[in-house]
């Protein structure tokens, strides 16, 4: 039962889970300010949206990590192959996490821009209402 593929799995899985958690922690600690801006300072809904995004990130990344676990290798699986496949799998997961981080950052920027446009429109409408009121009175 001393199979090196099993050893690779048992090294890969803890690293994958730990990496996902660390990246999500760092990202969502820094995304709070965006959420506060998007929800115009209503902190409860901003924090819970942040939390929901975090859960989604965990689910997606861990799902991807587990999906990529299986190693298909026909030849003899030696120590060298352990190194190669381990670094290959962790590399794929890492690039995926990086792309996820950049995509989420893009979404946050878009949300911020939309909020600013909406609030600009809101102020314009308010301004015209004020004028109307002023003309009526």
């Amino acid at each position: 039962m001393n199979n090196l593929i099993v050893t690779t799995y048992s090294i890969y899985l803890p690293i994958a889970i730990l990496l996902t958690f660390i990246v999500a922690k760092i990202f969502f600690k820094n995304s709070r300010i965006f959420m506060m801006d998007i929800f115009r300072g209503r902190s409860e809904i901003a924090m819970s949206t942040n939390r929901l995004f975090e859960v989604g990130f965990y689910l997606f990344s861990l799902g991807f990590a587990l999906f990529r676990t299986k190693i298909n290798y026909a030849g003899e699986f030696g120590k060298q192959q352990v190194f190669e496949h381990l670094s290959y799998q962790i590399g794929i997961l890492t690039v995926f996490l990086g792309i996820m981080v950049f995509t989420n950052l893009y979404l946050l920027f878009r949300g911020k821009k939309k909020t600013r446009q909406n609030s600009a429109k809101h102020f314009e409408n308010q301004g015209s209402n004020d004028q109307d009121i002023a003309t009526i009175s």
Binding site: T94, F96, V101
Partner: protein
């Protein structure tokens, strides 16, 4: 001990140190660009800077460790040196191209900001 495993260890540790080191420099110096971009909002600049740093490190480290799978069999100390220096050369070139690309895009963003502020003033 197999030559391949030794050269993987040396290459990966060199590459990770290099990527983190370059990233630290960019992290420190890019902060002021971000500050300019967010019109002096320090909170935004710090947070976005951290996110960009972690994204950069993840993508580069991942790409380097993927590239290991395509190495040929290493049979002597000589080919170990050759393979490590070749792979480091590719890594350095890619980092340099990315860096130049970043500088060009910062230049474009700075131009756009200048144009916007000029429009606002006029």
């Amino acid at each position: 001990m197999n030559y391949n495993i030794i050269s993987y260890t040396i290459f990966l540790s060199l590459a990770v140190i290099l990527i983190i080191g370059v990233g630290r420099h960019l992290y420190k110096n890019g902060y002021y660009y971000l500050l300019e971009l967010f019109k002096g909002d320090q909170n935004y600049a710090t947070n976005v800077n951290k996110i960009l740093y972690i994204g950069y490190a993840l993508v580069n480290v991942g790409w380097v460790s993927i590239s290991i799978l395509s190495w040929p069999e290493i049979l002597s100390v000589q080919s170990c040196f050759e393979q490590i220096s070749y792979s480091m050369a590719i890594l350095l070139t890619v980092l340099a191209i990315l860096h130049i690309n970043n500088l060009i895009s910062l230049r474009l963003i700075a131009k756009r900001i200048n144009r916007d502020t000029n429009n606002v003033i006029s």
